[in-house]
Amino acid sequence: MPELIKIKEDPSFQLLCKRRWRSCIVLILLALSPFFLMIFLASYFDSLAFDFLLAQDNRHVWYFGGLMMFYFLALSALHVFVANNYHEDANTQVELVLKARDSHY
């Protein structure tokens, strides 16, 4: 489909892809890093990583986990917000280009 391939050079399409890449990488790093950091700390510093939590109160391990779940939910909502507000602008541009090309051909 040569008409479709031509869209790759379209600035609106390139902008869309660039924005998606950026947001995808940032969100994935935000999602994975605290979780894997927790495992890393546990493996390298043994229980030391949890000492600051345990020193306060045993319950804080659970509260920390609960907050982490809401953090993942917030990231999920952020993904939808970013995509709906920033990706869709570029998407609309791409659709206009597609329509123009369809009418041309």
């Binding site: 994975l32 345990l54 779940m69 939910l73």
Partner: protein
Amino acid sequence: MTFTYAATIFLITSLFLIFVSKKMATRTKSAADFYSSRGDISSFQNGLAMAGDYISGAAIFGMSSLIFIAGCDGFFYAMSFVLGWTVKQILITERARNIGRFTVADIISYRLNRGSVRAFTSLSTLAIILIYLIVQFVAVAQVFQFVLAIGYSQALLAAGLAVVVFVSLGGFVASTRVQIIKIYALFLVVGFLCGFLMSEYDFSLSKIFNSANAAGGIRMAVPLGLLEDPVSQLSLAVGLIFGTSGLPHTTTRYFSVMNAKQARQSAMVATGVIVLFFLMISLVGVVAVARLHLDDIDGLDWVSTSEILGTNMVILLLSRTVVGNLFLGFIAAITFFATLTVIAKLVSTGASSVSRDIYVHVILRRRVEAMVEAKVARLGALLIGVLALCFSVVFDQQNLTFLVSLAFGVAAASNFPVLLLSLYWRGLTSRGALVGGLVGLISSLGLIIASKLIWVDLLKNPEALYPYDHPALFAMLLAFATAWLFSITDRSDKAKRERLAFDEQYIRSQIG
């Protein structure tokens, strides 16, 4: 009989829910009806249905029991399940929605060799679904065992019969609407249970955790498993987080909505529902530590202590002990129905794989009438169901969440690398996808067989060949490495065409 009252309520409520499913069922008119909805449901409804597919017997029964047994380490599973869903939303949802149609194989084979890649994807899909189904059958059988006071083998037969009745009445076809009803019903009973439990502690989380810490000891305060064996926990986390992206039965829900915007909104709704549910079920587990004692368990003369402690029925035991037999009947019926709907969804996804991927695209290699395809799908459903039921006989002593994490491990090592590379890497060829995927599938299954679960507990060998419980960390890396190696060394004309076709797939995946 102590539980006659609960058993009666259980049977009446279950029959009512199955009757409601029958009313919801519509006749199968086309392949689109059969595999997914026709794009006529809202993103909120689709999100509820997605969460319904994800919240299985493992989450309902296994999670609270795992926290009861393992304390903080059980909660680690819950966090991984939620993170896995978020990662899937960010990495896979939109692109998969834009280029897929009915099954995971449709996405992967968009620009790759349809025959071989479809054959691999359907094989891995069936392997994942089989393990997942075993878990659900064990869950349903243990509910029957607990509430109806019958032996495990009789309970398993009753579970098989219940699935046949449910599927033949149409719960299979109307799965989207049924999943929505399931989520509402599940939140109603588990929410009520949490409210009741919290009222016993004056709605104070501090009081609950103080009681649980006093009864549960060090396991409630420190994640012992994470500290003692971080490699195993890392492998578990990798399996749960990336395996979610490779699960075939939840991915197909993206095709039920009209566009990518609705798909990502559905995923967000599902994340919200999953977070709330896992928090509620974790609370049930924590209260169980504080409230359940051996005396409660010994009171059940037909269920041995090890069966309850080692496995899964903590939520039902807590309902009976704290709230009473009437509520036990209701919660058992609704959780049974919830598990039944997941079985229906799993069986329908497996059946789609057999009929569409294997029968139509690999064996016949030509289009067939929708009703012929549906007939093959029903035959496939029967075979998958019987196979899973047979395997369920030997896993009654295992925790369901642990068992389902193995299915996630297989998905992380087989479907996920191929799906991710096909969506994001131009260099992936059919040869790389096939070899990488098969290596991931075979190595993950091999490591499960060599682990303690099968090698020691089932085959009665003195020591496990693989020292960890979860295969994903090693098998997934191996799958990525072989997919990369066999792709970059592929110099064939076909490989060149497939690399060129990436541009078209990429544009389609971005704009739908």
